[in-house]
Subunit: 205 residues, 2 copies
DNA sequence: ATGCAAAAATGACCGCGGTCATTTTTTACC
DNA sequence: GGTAAAAAATGACCGCGGTCATTTTTGCAT
């Protein structure tokens, strides 16, 4: 699998991605043309399109890589003894910070993640599974510890928290909450979701 | 406000929107060019852009109008005595059905609603307020009836349900749930959100 | 080394969304 | 009705994302 051909291809792909990172960061996504990107990467315009289907895909590939790195970081540094609320907050806020660091990238990235085109579904499924793999263990442990109901399917449980994370991002992009307020808001939402939206008629211990 | 000029402008705008509806429905959004749209509407290409900032805005205007109509319909036909779960389900499923009828439109529409560009923020705020105006009364009544906790701010309460609605759309666009399963899934999610994700140590009545 | 087929790179080319200087239409005033 | 200023309509034009027939490079058998 490491024929000289493959090696060169990988190098070219890296070159394109490096050029993309540099130019996107410097001039923004929309303001960077493929021609310019190709020139910076030292390849022809057509070459770019033999490595990436669309301009979007270039951004997607970059963001996916970065996020994967962050997830690995988190996975290794998570305190599995901490309350589930704390663990999830840490993960989602880290992701939030990353996604909103460059609002333009984040917007385009999330648009594609949440409402994917059929074209990129395969990549998307794969990414989603990685996501589950990160969250599921935390939720399972929490279920075992009695922190979470175990009559709720893991996908649903995961969905609730993901949904609130999406809500936070929506609120941020709509200027309802600032970056400073993000953690507090998400914490409130998570807590409310845990305790339930309807009044409990009795005292909870 | 009804000077002959205004009247003609409205007529032109209608013509453009009508052409858009026809062509978008017939050939899809991406496959419809502004030149073609302008020809069908019987105006010049530039004229289209003096009525709408971007191609996206045309779709947005169309969807907004339609959804407003649906909301009015619902507002008049809602049974305010029904359980809050039922009322919310009716509204969100109606909206879901509409948004997913044409997956391509729905995707582009939701992408813009959930992660708006700064450019269209004004329109967006306005739309969001209309949304609150529809949901708030239901939630307030539910709070008064003791169906919902009244120590949760209305925006947050609204957010929880909206978040789960977004999750449903995400799941649908990711092929996790089919249209048939939508209502059941959303019902499950809403119920879980109401009762809470953590075990209640006691009996709820 | 040489020839040759497969793979990779290329840039001219296309139709598109969007702009803007110019033209056409409308309005208001005498 | 004449006319000048304001408003609206227009399409040639631009740079873009994306395609594809052609050229260049590569890997391999001789």
């Amino acid at each position: 699998m490491s024929s000289p051909r493959e090696i060169k291809k990988r190098k070219t792909k890296k070159a394109i991605l490096s050029a993309a990172i540099e130019l996107f960061a410097q001039n923004g996504f929309e303001q960077t043309s493929i021609a310019q990107l190709a020139r910076t990467a030292g390849v022809g315009k057509g070459t770019v399109y033999s490595y990436f289907k669309t301009k979007q895909d270039i951004l997607q590939a970059f963001c996916d890589d970065e996020l994967e790195f962050i997830h690995e970081q988190l996975a290794n540094n998570t305190n599995h003894q901490a309350p589930v609320l704390q663990q999830l907050l840490t993960i989602f806020i880290a992701e939030f910070k990353y996604v909103t660091r460059n609002p333009e990238f984040g917007r385009l990235y999330m648009q594609e993640i949440v409402f994917p085109r059929k074209v990129v579904m395969d990549k998307h499924q794969e990414q989603e599974n990685k996501y589950f793999e990160m969250i599921f263990p935390i939720l399972t442990r929490a279920q075992e510890h009695g922190e979470l109901r175990n009559d709720i399917e893991l996908h649903y449980l995961c969905g609730h928290f993901f949904a609130l994370y999406l809500l936070l991002l929506h609120a941020w992009y709509s200027d309802f909450v600032t970056t400073d307020q993000a953690e507090e808001s998400l914490s409130t939402l998570f807590t409310q979701a845990l305790t339930g939206l309807q009044p409990s008629k009795v005292i909870t211990t």
